[in-house]
Symmetry: C2
Subunit: 193 residues, 2 copies
């Protein structure tokens, strides 16, 4: 297997560092050190911390591909795809011992006001994510396995945002309580009436 | 009216600065400057940025007293108290042009891992807040104006976390869309079935 390029190593190190310490809590020096690279060579690959943050967000999103794929898995009924999608995300949050939260949510709160580029990318990622959930909600509503009195778009937004809020709480309390409450409430509240 | 003490001025300045710039994005110097105080006198009143952050959280919580009072206003039916509570919070978020979000949510994501003191205070504040909502949910469930198949605690947690997630999105997009979707979905989903 070829050795990953330094650029790739820096992106991977940035995902770890930014996810753990946040944008303002991480310096370019921290990221370069985590990648085992001299600070000077960081700047051969990235212009700024803002630029590496955007690359790290894309890498983080790619790493979530298996959870995203559940939403597209047509072998499962759509309401189960949604439930399993969030269960998979919760498992990942749990593996990180609830210490890191969701990097997309973290960055939204932390740097949306500071970095127009990061803000645009975060909006794109949330847009794709919402659309994938909305598509499952629509399918479930059409076949009668999910209530129809909430617009599919509202239900998708509400679910995703409720999950981000639950992750925030799980990070604060370092416990799965809020994530479990999310899974229980989401399933019951969206069931057909 | 007596001139507010320097300590009070520093706390007020810290709420503004920390809410706008975040914990890691604000220095003690920034806070002292916003208070019109020399950095040296900051340390006459507070030991560290962590200590002022906890005091600022308490002040922020006190400022939310009018929204909190809605949850206790027994002249209103309990389900309306919940709806008006969140509507009042959304109005406050909107007045800040969606740029600052909820300081309690922001701090939870940003510094829960860095500061055990801030983390404990944030957990206390979220605990009080959840309990106040839960009390309304219980009352509404008892009188049949809210569905009973979700435990009152789960419903309260879910609502509060969904709101925090919606605020996160409103901050990212600088728009009220997620807050409006929250209000619509929350009312419908918790109505009696």
């Amino acid at each position: 297997m070829p050795r990953p390029s330094l650029r790739e190593q820096i992106i991977d190190a940035a995902v770890e560092t930014l996810h753990r310490q946040g944008f303002n809590g991480s310096s370019v020096q921290d990221i370069a050190e985590a990648a085992g690279a001299p600070k000077g060579s960081f700047y051969n690959h990235f212009e700024s911390k803002e630029e590496i943050a955007v690359a790290a967000l894309d890498r983080y999103w790619e790493r979530g591909a298996s959870a995203a794929a559940i939403l597209e898995d047509k072998r499962l009924p759509p309401e189960q795809r949604i439930a399993r999608h969030f269960a998979a995300l919760n498992e990942a949050v749990s593996k990180g011992r609830f210490q890191k939260g969701c990097m997309i949510g973290n960055m939204s709160l932390e740097i949306a006001g500071q970095s127009p580029k990061a803000r645009a990318r975060l909006a794109t990622l949330f847009g794709r994510w919402t659309a994938a959930i909305e598509s499952c909600v629509k399918e479930a509503q059409a076949k009668g396995s999910m209530r129809r009195d909430v617009a599919a778009r509202d239900a998708a937004e509400f679910l995703l945002n409720a999950w981000e809020g639950a992750v925030l709480r799980s990070k604060l309390h370092r416990s799965p309580g809020a994530l479990a409450a999310f899974e229980r409430a989401a399933a019951t509240l969206l069931a057909p009436t």
